[in-house]
């Protein structure tokens, strides 16, 4: 090579290396920005939401005295229904702070514990009536304002806007006696939604999501896979199948809220399916995930080398046998990966469910596919819209739970793909 050319090459080399370095820098910058966003999101959400897993409890001496709640005969169910169960807690508080006598102050004192405490007493005594007349020392859930204050006070940043100075004084006293404490918030995992933040739990939404997703999977996976197999292996390649292909891709790009409108217009108005139930949510979500499953399943089928099909056909397998014995098993991991990713999307979907009434305020935990229900992301939407400050940490906690599920699902998908990936 001539000296001249070598010089030229060397000169151009510097430029080439420089642009390569720049390219790498840009790439790294992108990765760092992405990671930073993820870390920021998690730190923010976890710091806001972790509080919800613990709640403020107040220790009270409860005496199960029928008189205290105005009941004459503990076997009269009618009377028990209308009894003032909350009085057990009120009485115990008054015993704790005998100096409180004014009406207004008494009310403030009563407000230290959650309004829901009475229901717990009722449930407790209905279950074991032999407790009547006995005494028990219990940790009773505090009111949400107390909870918010106590947690912020422990963090040296007290938020006292919604409390009176007396209430703050009482909490101080309780604290110095060791009668107020943070404990694991079992209610959060045992309850459905509630207007009282301290009573609100995630279980209703979790179960609702579970029912909805199970049905979604049952509806969309078999249908999606069969459609993919038909299109890929059996359908003739002509302009009709081209048209179908284009439309499936279009369908995958349709904004999810449109599927909600479809559900509203067709399934509720035309077919008369009741609103707010998992069956309806699942139909809508299945329609939404179907194109994704078809597309990923087709990709999985395409990745099975044609030589395997030829081998099977060559020894006399029919087309159906070839598909069933070879193509399907080999593409199943890919299909499952697609299904899991589709399900993860469906789990996080909110907009279409708003349209079909799964945004209703539902206290009861759904017991089946046809009970009114809400789902995790909609629960988040509902809570974030609530004015009480205590809902902020509930919202964040629900987001943590939703994200954990999504991450687990994505990990399973990646694991499956890695594990069952075949090298030809």
């Amino acid at each position: 090579m001539s000296k001249d050319n070598r010089k030229k090459i060397r000169e151009s080399l510097a430029k080439r290396n420089r642009s390569e370095r720049h390219f790498q820098w840009f790439g790294k910058l992108g990765v760092i920005l992405g990671l930073a966003a993820v870390v920021l999101l998690f730190v923010d959400i976890i710091s806001k939401g972790s509080g919800a897993f613990r709640a403020t409890y107040i220790q009270l001496e409860i005496e199960y005295d029928p008189d205290a709640i105005g009941v004459l005969d503990v076997n009269d169910t009618e009377e028990l229904i209308f009894a003032n169960w909350q009085n057990f807690a009120k009485k115990s508080l008054r015993d704790l702070f005998p100096e409180v006598t004014k009406r207004g102050e008494k009310r403030k004192l009563n407000n230290l514990v959650s309004e829901g405490a009475g229901f717990d007493f009722r449930d407790q005594l209905t279950q074991s009536p032999n407790l009547w007349g006995t005494k028990e020392t219990l940790w009773i859930l505090a009111d949400d304002d107390i909870d918010t204050y106590y947690k912020s006070w422990l963090d040296d940043d007290p938020f006292s806007a919604r409390l009176t100075s007396e209430q703050i004084k009482w909490i101080d006293q309780l604290h110095s006696k060791g009668l107020i404490a943070l404990k694991f918030n079992t209610k959060f995992f045992e309850r459905g939604d509630s207007r009282e933040p301290e009573q609100a739990g995630i279980k209703g939404a979790l179960i609702g999501s579970f029912f909805t997703l199970v049905l979604t999977l049952l509806m969309s996976f078999p249908m999606g896979v069969t459609a993919a197999i038909y299109l890929e292996e059996f359908a003739p390649k002509n302009k009709w199948t081209d048209l179908i292909e284009v439309n499936i891709n279009n369908l995958a790009a349709v904004p999810s809220i449109i599927f909600g409108l479809l559900g509203l217009a067709i399934f509720i108005n035309f077919f008369g399916i009741p609103r707010s139930i998992p069956v309806l949510g699942a139909i809508v979500l299945a329609l939404m995930t179907l194109p994704t499953i078809i597309i990923t399943s087709r990709a999985a089928i395409k990745s099975v080398p044609p030589s395997i099909r030829e081998a099977a056909l060559g020894v006399g397998a029919s087309k159906f046998q070839t598909t069933l014995h070879h193509v399907l098993p080999l593409s199943l991991p890919g299909m499952l990966t697609g299904a899991i990713i589709g399900m993860a999307r469906a789990l996080g979907e909110t907009a279409p469910l708003l349209m079909i009434g799964m945004v209703a305020f539902i206290v009861d935990i759904p017991g089946g596919f046809t009970d009114p229900a809400t789902v995790l992301p909609v629960q988040i939407f509902l809570w974030i819209d609530s004015p009480e400050r205590a809902f902020v940490e509930k919202t964040s906690a629900a987001i943590i739970i939703l994200l954990s599920f999504l991450m687990v699902m994505n990990f399973i998908a990646v694991y499956l793909r890695k594990r069952l990936e075949r090298r030809w």
Binding site: R309, A311, G314, V315, G316, R422
Partner: protein
């Protein structure tokens, strides 16, 4: 067959420019010809398969033109020709493998023992059990060696019991010369074998259903010379029980294993003759040009 000497006589030295010009003219003629006739003994008396008037199209493009040819019982017939001349396409008409390609249309008549293979009433599943195929790239199923061989017999219900099936698998592997190497690892994946072993596994899989004819499409093109030699030996052994049609891009291989050789050019069957004749005194100018290395 003592064709080994023959293979040495195939010269591939530089082309005489004058001859090349002539060849180009002949090729031009061939392209423009409406009809042509195959030179040599393309038709025989005791034919196992007969091909008459066969044309194959991929959409608008014609890949095979008006082929007439017989395949004799228990012979090894080699198909040679420049790449893209339609050898594979022709071979695949013999077990209707072309049916799997949507755009492919076959016209004409192919018979086996007098039975028309393109009869709409005929079931291709049965046909493919009778006419087995070995492909260019070894394509074992990603299953165990045993499962690979047992697949065909199971499909067609050829074995009555587990013992029967075991025996059938063993015999097939023996015939394919793979038994010694595979007997201790029958339940390990077939894809774990070497390339040559995989191809012998594919042969075992094909013969397990006891076909009458075996089609092989460049079965050695993905293999090293030693593996190739083993397959060639195997072909010679198999020819005692099966009729074999083999496509090859190696003239030496055609010379070593086949009894007759068919030369294809641009989709036309130019010449069919005993292998010895084709490689020592080809009748057609194009055949001569090909075997002396003037086309790739």
């Amino acid at each position: 067959m003592s064709n080994s000497k023959l293979s040495q006589s195939i010269s591939t030295d530089g082309a005489d420019p004058k001859i090349s010009e002539q060849v180009l003219d002949v090729e031009k003629d061939l392209l423009s010809m409406e009809s042509y006739s195959t030179i040599g003994n393309n038709l025989v008396e005791d034919a196992k398969m007969s091909v008459r008037n066969v044309n194959v199209f991929y959409g608008d493009k014609q890949a095979i033109f008006d082929v007439h040819m017989d395949i004799k019982k228990n012979e090894v017939i080699a198909m040679i020709g420049p790449s893209g001349c339609g050898k594979s396409t022709f071979l695949r008409t013999l077990n209707r493998m072309n049916d799997t390609i949507d755009s492919c249309v076959v016209s004409g008549e192919v018979t086996m023992d007098g039975e028309n293979l393109y009869d709409p009433k005929l079931d291709v599943v049965e046909l493919r059990a009778r006419v087995g195929m070995v492909f260019q790239k070894p394509n074992p199923f990603p299953k165990s060696i045993f499962e690979n061989v047992a697949y065909g017999p199971r499909l067609h219900g050829l074995a009555d019991s587990k013992v029967d099936l075991d025996e059938l698998v063993e015999n097939s592997l023996k015939k394919a010369g793979l038994w010694e190497e595979a007997k201790d690892r029958l339940h390990q994946p077939g894809t774990g074998l070497s390339g040559g072993q995989q191809q012998r596994l594919c042969i075992a899989r094909a013969i397990a259903v006891e076909p009458e004819v075996i089609l092989m499409d460049e079965p050695c093109s993905a293999l090293d010379p030693i593996a190739t030699a083993r397959i060639e030996e195997l072909i010679e052994e198999l020819s005692q029980n099966f009729t074999i049609a083999i496509v090859t891009h190696s003239m030496q291989q055609a010379a070593r294993v086949s009894h007759r050789t068919a030369y294809f050019h641009l989709g036309k069957l130019i010449e069919v003759n005993p292998t010895e004749t084709v490689f020592t005194m080809p009748e057609h100018k194009l055949t001569e040009a090909y075997i002396t290395g003037r086309f790739g």
